[in-house]
Amino acid sequence: MIRIAELGLVRIDDRLIHGQVVAVWLNHIRVDRIVIVDDGVAKDSFMQDVLRLAAPPGVTVDARTVQEGIATLGDDMPNRERVMVLMKSPKTARQLFDGGIRFSNLNVGGIGAGPGRKSLFKNISMSEEEKGILKSLVKDGVTVTLQTVPGEKTADFASLVK
């Protein structure tokens, strides 16, 4: 059996590319390509320009809808271990997983407070529905970790919501 390379980092972060990602994560793991999976951004060429400007030289940025993301991120993707996947919400992660994209680790880096969301850990807030989605991913064998940046305190989602 051929081992499929793991994606470099699969992260939920509603600010997508920002200081933590550029100044910390990209200096910590080797990434050549950032794939943003978000239906809104995939249709917004202005935001794509802005996000490309925010990424450091040498890192390509692509925006995909969920459907396109499922096609792009499959097992046959080249250099999978050097790809960072960013999305805004747990729902997208679930859709990718259901579409056949395998990942064993899911990093939750930031979900801002908002209506219906309650603070869970540091700058991460979630609604009951979003918690439920992540719980279902845990059930499917994904390790969900809450962590802003490497070196900072982490929390295991499964034990946090028990």
Binding site: H18, G19, Q20, V22, A23, V50, L53, K122, N123, T148
Partner: protein
């Protein structure tokens, strides 16, 4: 229940800071003339530490006062030993040269290491060469107060919500900085005051005992301080060792080492700049525009309801109070609403409109203050259009804010924390080490020029050009060239700083036949300052390739340096 938790964590953080300062104090080396710390002085040290995290210095608190170079100088001035304080501060600052706080994370606390570390070093009679060994562990304790602050300040955001409901514009502004600053004063100033007062007494009394009984351990901490500087340099190299760029690090190192460490800053900076320009000249392709900030786009017809004064009033509030009520739940949300208060007052007249506008801007927001100001400019322009009757929904305003704040933070952190502050610091620190009192001042001026000048310019462009400002300002790849040039200069300067700040030498001798070889002079015969260079590279390798945590390396350096100084039959390693 919440209150009990708060009280407990406050007590624990005070206790830990006290224990921390005692623990490090008891291991303090190199007795010099101690400068007793009076309760009043200790209080001022606490106040200065609070001030460095307070919003009252037009964003020069966190960017300038919080840095050990400046902290050491201020504590030195307070205690009547300015030059010594400045040198101690510069030495402590080496460890935090590559320090970046992104998105509310705080990896170590340079301010605490700077203020408390210098007070303890001067109060206990430590030389500048040994101060880092005491200050470095202190920096780790700051994280406790930070965690407390980030979770508790959410409360004030809810107080601001209540005022927004009543359309109380000034009330929202006050909730941003009044209760939060009273609270932060308590949790920042008081523990540090106690630690400075009791800690320095402990240092002074413990030193006499250590001097008599454990003379070798003093030498060990001297060695540890010199070696800890290597950790600071290596932490920075993680961001700078890219592709072929390390070559410039070695050039910088050799220029300084061959000059015997005596080269002045100005010629050094000129060589470094010339090399950086050459690199960019030879590596950039094509005929892209050479201007750094391309302007352009239609300024359009602006200032219909608002005046330049209103936009400036908004900028000033943001400049000062962006982080006043920083917390996990909203991050800079209350700060953003505060910055919008002059605009809201001018644009909206009915209670419903005012209340809605306040609530619209009290939501979660987080960006980098200088570059992120473009988002405020864009928002102000949208609010003005809306007040004029244009159909701009809450969602439209909110979506431009939330979609731009992240990328702007990424660019802002790279430029401000990753380039401007480290290079300005490196310049200031080198001057400080040569006893030049202009060091911290030059650093402050450079940072202020960026934070105020670039900050206001970008804020205005956001208002004038709308969202096109973002792409107009950054297009053409000019930004990437500036970053590359800064990386070349950074490599070069850090090579030179390795010579000035890192010290490591060995006392190992070995005898072959009847000749005794002194290992250090053998190494010096090969290349001056070889051990410091090897140490920096070793630590970089551990950090980058082996993913060893900086804290572990810090502890290992202190332990190895002290144990290695223990004499066995008159011989020791260091």
């Amino acid at each position: 229940m919440e209150r009990k938790k708060l009280a407990v964590s406050l007590v624990i953080s005070v206790a830990l800071i006290l224990i921390g300062s005692f623990a490090t104090a008891h291991a303090a080396p190199l007795r010099q003339e101690a400068q007793p710390v009076s309760l009043f002085m200790a209080f001022i040290v606490g106040v200065m530490y609070y001030a460095s995290m307070s919003p009252f210095f037009a964003n020069l608190g966190f960017t300038v006062l919080y840095r050990p170079l400046v902290a050491g100088t201020l504590v030195g001035l307070l205690m009547g030993r300015p030059i010594e304080g400045m040198t101690i501060g510069a030495n402590i600052n080496v460890l935090y040269l590559g320090w970046i706080s992104a998105g509310g994370s705080l990896p170590g606390d340079p301010g605490l290491a700077g203020y408390l570390g210098t007070a303890l070093a001067l109060g206990g009679g430590l030389g500048s060469e040994a101060a880092l060994a005491v200050a470095a562990p202190l920096g780790l304790l700051g994280g406790l107060t930070w965690a407390l602050r980030m979770s508790t300040c959410s409360i004030f955001a809810h107080w601001a919500d209540a005022r927004a409901e009543k359309a109380d514009v000034n009330g929202v502004a006050k909730m941003n900085y009044v209760p939060s600053q009273i609270w932060l004063f308590i949790i920042y100033a008081i523990p540090v005051m106690l630690a400075a007062y009791f800690g320095s007494q402990a240092v002074a009394s413990a030193l006499g005992w250590i001097g008599k009984n454990l003379g070798w351990a003093m030498g060990g901490l001297f060695t540890a301080s010199g070696a800890l500087a290597a950790l600071g340099i290596a932490l920075n190299l993680r961001f700078l060792f890219k592709g072929m760029l390390p070559a410039y690090f070695f050039i910088g190192f050799l220029v300084m080492a061959l000059a015997g460490g005596s080269i002045k800053l100005l010629p050094l900076a000129i060589i470094g700049l010339a090399i950086a320009l050459l690199h960019v000249m030879f590596t950039s392709k094509g005929e892209e525009g050479l201007s750094i900030f391309a302007s352009g786009g239609q300024a359009g017809e602006k200032y219909k309801l608002l005046t330049k004064k209103d936009v400036f009033a908004s900028f000033v509030r943001w400049l000062f109070f962006s982080h006043a009520c920083y917390n996990w739940e909203r991050m800079q949300g209350v700060g953003f609403a505060h910055s919008m208060t002059p605009v809201i007052k001018k644009l909206y007249k009915t209670k419903e409109d005012i209340s809605a506008a306040l609530k619209r801007h009290l939501v979660f927001f987080n960006t980098q203050p200088d570059i992120g100001g473009v988002v405020h400019g864009i928002t102000i322009a949208m609010e003005e259009e809306r007040a004029l009757g244009a159909d701009i929904s809450d969602e439209a305003i909110n979506s431009i804010k939330t979609s731009l704040m992240g990328p702007m933070a990424g660019i802002g952190d790279t430029i401000q924390q990753g380039i401007v502050i480290p290079i300005a610091l490196a310049i200031g620190m080198s001057m400080a080490l040569q006893g030049n009192f202009l060091g911290p001042i030059v650093f402050a001026v450079l940072v202020a020029a960026f934070v105020w000048g670039v900050g206001w310019w970008i804020f205005q462009q956001g208002y004038l050009q709308g969202r096109n400002a973002v792409t107009n300002i950054l297009k053409g790849g000019a930004l990437n060239r500036v970053i590359t040039a800064a990386q070349v200069l950074g490599n070069f300067v850090l090579g030179a700083l390795t010579v000035s700040f890192v010290s490591l030498s060995t006392k190992i001798k070995f005898t072959i036949g009847k000749t005794t070889f002194d290992l250090q002079s053998v190494l010096d015969g090969l290349m001056p300052k070889m051990l410091p260079l090897l140490l920096v590279l070793l630590i970089w390798w551990l950090l980058e390739k082996k993913k060893v945590s900086p804290t572990k390396i810090m502890i290992a350096i202190i332990v190895i340096a002290v144990l290695g100084s223990y004499p066995i039959r008159g011989f020791s390693i260091f």
